[in-house]
């Protein structure tokens, strides 16, 4: 508010006959900040900076430091410095876990970009046409986002994927002993990359549950964005003879650029920090992701903070890679 006021004040000054000399402008606008403005600004930057440093940077740096230790997380006295040993082990003894997790995180990202996000956008686009009962459909698609994780776990484990009693096997007629599909337990590859790594069938089953949640999330975000698009744009395009797809592709989608970026970022973040659904479905074999390896090592009875932190640093590096790509694009476009 105070900034807006100062802007109007400057505008007003400019209309006066006395033309300010060059170089004076900066000093003048600076002096327009009152004491309370300054306090407000200081607070508004100091508090978030403090929180950011305390809650983001200190833990991140702490994780990095702890990744060079062997520590059970109980007493400082039991902490041992082991240099790069944890990293060395990640790439030798635990390499299968590490690579499997990296692949799995990647699969989630691919699946959410290829299926989850477009599906959410499509549903939002359809619901935006003021269909009858649109609110009901919205609620239905959004429900998975709101449900407690315990319920989500129950739905997918016991209602959907249970080999003997689940809906899927019942519908497919595969409930007989020996003929059941083991949705959550079968680690055979659906899409093999090498003999050791690939997209396993049970991880695809978990991804289906993640998509189920993600669709509702994207739908709500996109729906909110669509509401803000000027309907005249759509009509003008229609008058020019554009078909539905062309209207979306050439008019609506570009107009929604800010929302698209938010959704893209959310999709990347979701796929990197995915944890909850895998955990409530008991983390079947072949379904490790980086966040699971971090928590498995750090939490639990026998805390292995060093190794868990090393996995955490891996996750941090992957996140940095995406952050750099994103920032490059964002600033690159600004430069043009």
């Amino acid at each position: 508010m105070s900034l807006d006021e100062s802007v109007t004040a400057t505008d007003h000054d400019v209309t006066t006959p006395v033309t300010p000399r060059e170089g004076e402008e900066g000093r003048r606008s600076h002096s327009l900040l009152t004491g309370s403005d300054r306090r407000t600004l200081t607070l508004m930057t100091a508090v978030p900076s403090f929180l950011h440093i305390a809650l983001v940077w200190i833990p991140a740096i702490g994780t990095f430091i702890l990744s060079f230790t062997n520590w059970n997380g109980v007493r400082w006295s039991s902490l041992k410095w082991v240099g790069f040993r944890n990293y060395e082990q990640l790439f030798t003894v635990f390499e299968k876990d590490l690579y499997e997790s990296l692949f799995n995180n990647l699969w989630v990202m691919v699946a959410l970009f290829a299926i989850g996000t477009p599906m959410g956008m499509l549903i939002a686009y359809i619901l935006d046409r003021n269909l009858k009962g649109s609110a009901i459909y919205q609620s239905i698609f959004y429900t998975p986002v709101v449900l407690s994780l315990a319920v989500v776990g129950f739905i997918w484990r016991s209602v959907m994927y249970s080999p003997g009693q689940g809906i899927l096997n019942s519908v497919l007629g595969r409930t007989d002993p020996g003929n059941q599909i083991d949705w959550l337990g079968n680690p055979d590859f659906l899409i093999p990359i090498t003999s050791e790594y690939g997209l396993s069938k049970n991880f695809m089953a978990l991804i289906a549950a993640m998509i189920w949640v993600h669709v509702g999330y994207v739908m709500v975000l996109y729906l909110a964005g669509l509401k803000s698009v000027d309907p005249n744009l759509r009509e003008a395009a229609a008058i020019d003879g554009a078909n539905e797809w062309q209207v979306f592709r050439q008019v609506i989608f570009p107009a929604m650029r800010p929302v698209n970026i938010v959704i893209m970022v959310i999709t990347v973040i979701t796929s990197l920090r995915v944890f909850d659904i895998i955990d409530v479905l008991n983390n079947p074999i072949g379904t490790d992701v980086l966040s699971i390896l971090v928590t498995d090592n750090i939490l639990g009875e026998s805390g292995n903070v060093g190794r868990g932190s090393a996995y955490g640093v891996m996750l941090l590096l992957v996140c940095f890679a995406f952050a750099i790509i994103y920032l490059r694009n964002a600033f690159g476009e600004e430069d043009q």
Binding site: V74, R75, Q89, P163, N202, P284, L299, S302
Partner: protein
């Protein structure tokens, strides 16, 4: 205070406790005498925390942290507290969901909110005691009556002091439905050939011989435990759990060879099946046998009424069938409890037959640790469990209680991958051995 020597070096193996169940002798008498003479020497050093053993001196508030989130155990613990004779102590039970409790035990131990915590005997108790997170209750043990030396060993940490009060246990065996066995004329096998014969009969009757459920990757650890103990013996098994043998050892490989030959008798798709679903398959007669703890009966009342079990038969006559998994549950005290006096009185009370009778009146799926407990109210399963454990030559605590929890998780992963594709076994074992070396080095 006094320190007692356990028979097995640093590792408090519960190997010997079962025999004492049978003998029903109270070894503590002798131990207490030794203790007295020790006190005579070191008199006065611990006067402030001296525990006299009389219940009723303490007062104030006391909190128990409990993982008994299922109805029967929850009612059982409430009954134990209700039977606590010291009315000056106001006991609160703080119950958490079973899994949440276990995953957060480290935080719970350090939070200091709960004075007394439900936990497991053996390695998992010793692990925390060695880190200084638990309170020494050796003075409570001085007053204990009716717990055998095996329980003592399972409650003793590396420093020779006691940090655990065992209250109950249950056994792992091959469960079956009595009505199905009667209907088809099956009988309990006494050696592995009879077991395989029985399995063939079941298969030809259209019944899948063995339930196989491994959701969570712990249930089939029981299968590995029993095969290893039958093929290589109890001592080898405990040493293997203690990291003293290589997993690439031919003896370990033999276990997997046998396991692979048994896999065709098991249900397919085990990794996605919960043990409760497995129990349902036993109840409906879809499967004939289920190697699981006797808690299988808690899946349904119908199964509880119809279930019976037999000890997994011998594979090698030279080794016999004397060893089995019989995990002990109980309670421990945190290092700095808010009310140590009341905590110790309650722990002593929990060791008594009276308290355990109260517990079992609500939860009849386990067996009391105190030899003085009222066995006349036991149901058939409890009687059989007590007899089985009593006649055992070696008792292990179950894989995830007998080794470092991290490593137990790696074993669980390996077993789950093995049953999906047994041909990968050599690579999987080599991998597991590598991880074992790394993990054991972390905790040495």
């Amino acid at each position: 205070m006094t320190t007692r020597k356990t028979e097995i070096g640093g590792y408090p193996s519960p190997a010997e406790w079962a025999r004492d169940l049978n003998r029903r002798t109270v070894l503590k008498g002798g131990v207490a005498l030794a203790g007295l003479s020790a006190i005579g020497v070191s008199c006065g050093s611990d006067a402030a925390t001296e525990f006299t053993g009389s219940i009723g001196d303490a007062g104030g508030a006391l909190t128990i942290g409990s993982n008994a989130s299922d109805p029967a155990p929850q009612a059982g613990l409430a009954a134990v507290v209700a039977s606590f004779p010291n009315e000056d102590v106001e006991v609160t039970i703080n119950t958490l969901d079973h899994n949440t409790y276990q995953e957060n035990i480290n935080a719970i131990l350090q939070a200091g909110e709960d004075d007394v915590l439900a936990w497991f005997a053996g390695f998992r108790n010793k692990f925390f005691a060695d880190q200084g997170l638990l309170g020494d209750i050796s003075d409570v043990w001085d007053q204990v009556d009716g717990l055998g030396a095996g329980f003592l060993a399972a409650s003793t940490a590396t420093d020779g002091k006691q940090y655990f009060m065992p209250t109950s246990y249950y056994t792992w065996a091959v469960n079956y439905s009595k009505s199905l066995f009667a209907e088809k004329g099956y009988s309990e096998p006494s050696n592995v050939d009879e077991l395989l014969g029985l399995a063939d009969d079941m298969a030809s009757d259209g019944i899948t011989p063995f339930v196989f459920a491994n959701d969570g990757q712990w249930p089939i650890m029981g299968t590995f435990d029993i095969l290893n103990m039958r093929i290589n013996g109890y001592d080898f098994h405990i040493d293997l759990m203690g990291g003293k043998h290589e997993w690439t050892d031919e003896r370990v490989r033999n276990v997997f060879t046998t396991w692979e030959s048994l896999l065709p008798y098991h249900q397919t798709g085990a990794n996605g099946r919960t043990w409760q679903e497995g129990a349902a398959a036993l109840e409906t007669g879809e499967c004939g046998m289920y190697l699981l703890g006797t808690f299988a009966a808690s899946a349904s009342e119908a199964l509880a009424a119809d279930m019976d079990f037999f000890n997994f038969p011998e594979i090698d006559p030279a080794i016999g069938a004397g060893a089995l998994d019989a995990p002990i549950d109980g309670f421990q005290m945190i290092a700095e409890p808010k009310n140590a006096a009341a905590a110790k009185e309650l722990l002593l009370h929990m060791s008594t037959a009276a308290a355990q009778d109260a517990y079992l009146s609500e939860d009849p799926s386990v067996v009391a640790s105190n030899s003085g407990a009222n066995t006349s109210v036991y149901n058939d399963l409890q009687k059989k469990s007590a007899a089985l454990a009593g006649s055992a030559t070696g008792i292990s605590q179950f894989l995830d209680r007998d080794t470092i929890p991290d490593f137990a998780g790696e074993c669980g992963n390996m077993f789950a991958e093995f049953i999906e594709d047994p041909s990968k076994v050599d690579g999987l074992l080599a991998d597991l051995e590598e991880k074992k070396v790394a993990i054991f080095a972390d905790y040495s």
